[in-house]
Amino acid sequence: MNISLVMFLVFIAITLGITYWASRRSAGSAAYFAASRQIKGWQNGIAVAGDYMSAASFLGIAGIIAFQGYDGFLFSVGWLVAYLTVLLVIAEPLRNAGKYTMADVLAYRLKPRPVRAMASLSTLTVSTFYMIAQMVGAGALVKLLLGSMVTYNQAVIAVGILMIVYVVFGGMLATTWVQIVKAILLMAGTILLSFLVMAHFHFSFGEFFGAISQVTYHDAKGQQVVKDFLQPGLRYKPPYGPLDLISLGMALIFGTAGLPHILVRFYTVPDAKTARHSVVWAMVLIGSFYIMTTFLGFGAATIVGPDFIKGHGGTNMSAPLLAQALAGNIFFAFISAIAFATILAVVAGLTISATTSFSHDFWTNVIHNGVERRPGEEVLVARISAFVVGAVAIAIAIVLGPTANVAFLVALAFAVAASANLPVIVLSIFWRRFNTAGAVTGLGVGLLASIGLILVSPSLMAIDPPTVVGTARHLIQAKAWFPLENPGILSIPLGFIGAFIGTLISHEPTSQHKFNELLVRSNTGLGAEKATVH
């Protein structure tokens, strides 16, 4: 029997055990949506790291560095530095003033129904796009890792069912612990892999960086080339490369603080101080991990080599192939199992943030005016919507198939978070004049600008040769209208401008009168939601 499969099954067994344990502690809204707000600071920090470091970071970055060197490492930098925005601006006010979702903070001083409806739409957009990217990736990955034992469709269905089970039965508590287990596994695997890479180079950084400065491979034309992989510019080339890089940086730095599945994590701790400490814990883990992508990515480039990786599954297989080259099949299986755990933990986090927003914001507050008609209704609706979200994600991932071009969906999720969510959260906390019309136009413009610009970007608009078929083809067969893959540089200012214009053309005295309430609540924690006793 395949060792990878055995390790996958062990991980599944552990997480189902956690879910069973959590299912008996998840009665009531605060328990189900926020793990009774009893998660400790360090636990939440690890869970934030587990929620955040997706397969795109683990397998994707290792692959980009293995093929495009230094430019790939720039992703790693942005993914950590982004947490300073979370720490300095968002985490504490959000914990102090909110209950389960980011819309709670907006609803204090603005008209709850329109604001919650738009915020919920934006949350669902970010979460489902991100989830579809993860699901398609998961299917393709499990297929690669397990070889002929499972098909793409079976892999997608298995991932979908597991994520539904975690969220429906175990709620936020199970999701949190799945993320903690995954983050610890990911860190352990990465440290081990980094250690083996350095051992390969006799623990000499001189030797390691010497090898990085002359990576030999065959380029697209089949010519053998030797490149210094520490040199910038292998991915982001003129004329638009530098702008795209800045645009990517903007989406990461301002988008992370608007990702719904990260924001909901701060409601699981007892108070704002603990939320602050959990961000610091997360930054230690996330930073250490991304520094180690140096070893993962450059290790794969120097020890395995781009040519071999290309012939054995492509860029995403860089880290597992590095493990195989350094320590054989058992380590390959271990790293593969970690990749699988990574995907499951992230999709579970996405599912719970989507269902929380649908149930709490849309169902209870928009449709039923903030009244739970029966006790437990909010949780019941969330469970049903988790089931629906999971089923829809499975169906879309199967329709798209393993070759679908989905990488842009991650860029889109960050762009929407940065262009729609972040401006309205920040303005509602800091700008007295801000009002409902501003929030609705800000969310709407940010959402439409991100989607619109991605639609006409090179990610979706390009002319493919006839050899590219099916869903791998670009959606629009024409030259791209917008030259950048990342829309942030334009869509983020548009989101802010939308919010400003909407605010200035309307007059809403109550939102200004209530600004002091939000100001005092978010800065002092007066009247903040408390942890509950089981």
Binding site: L88, L230, T524, G525
Partner: protein
């Protein structure tokens, strides 16, 4: 586990403050000297820290994008300026986070005075 659940009630303003009376409580706190002090103390740290990290971070893509030859200058052996600058970002981010946590102890102290004065955690 039980100690994380605080038993005291929030005796301050009601959570849902529709009436003008409770709204004026928030206004009173917002204009109090303690609260003004808290906001000023926060601003003194957060605004410069935020501006510094944004400038320091975006210097990286700008320099790498528009001055790749300069950034490719080798500093130690094969290690170039571009890599060292990228690596420094991690340590600068950790440093700012550490300084913030230290500064936030003052925020907590000032906030606690306001909470104590306004009914929370009394006795």
């Amino acid at each position: 586990m039980g100690n994380t659940a605080r038993n005291f009630e929030v005796a301050g303003p009601a959570p849902v403050s529709e009436s003008a009376e409770s709204q004026s409580v928030w206004d009173r706190i917002a204009s109090s000297k303690e609260f003004q002090d808290l906001m000023a103390t926060k601003k003194v740290f957060i605004v410069p820290a935020f501006i510094f990290f944004v400038v320091y971070y975006f210097a990286l893509p700008v320099l790498v994008g528009y001055a790749p030859q300069f950034m490719a200058t080798k500093v130690i052996g094969q290690v170039n300026l571009a890599y060292l600058f990228a690596l420094s970002q991690f340590f600068v981010a950790w440093l700012i986070a550490g300084l913030y946590v230290k500064a936030a102890n003052d925020f907590d102290r000032l906030a606690k005075d306001i909470l104590d004065k306004n009914g929370k955690g009394g006795k």
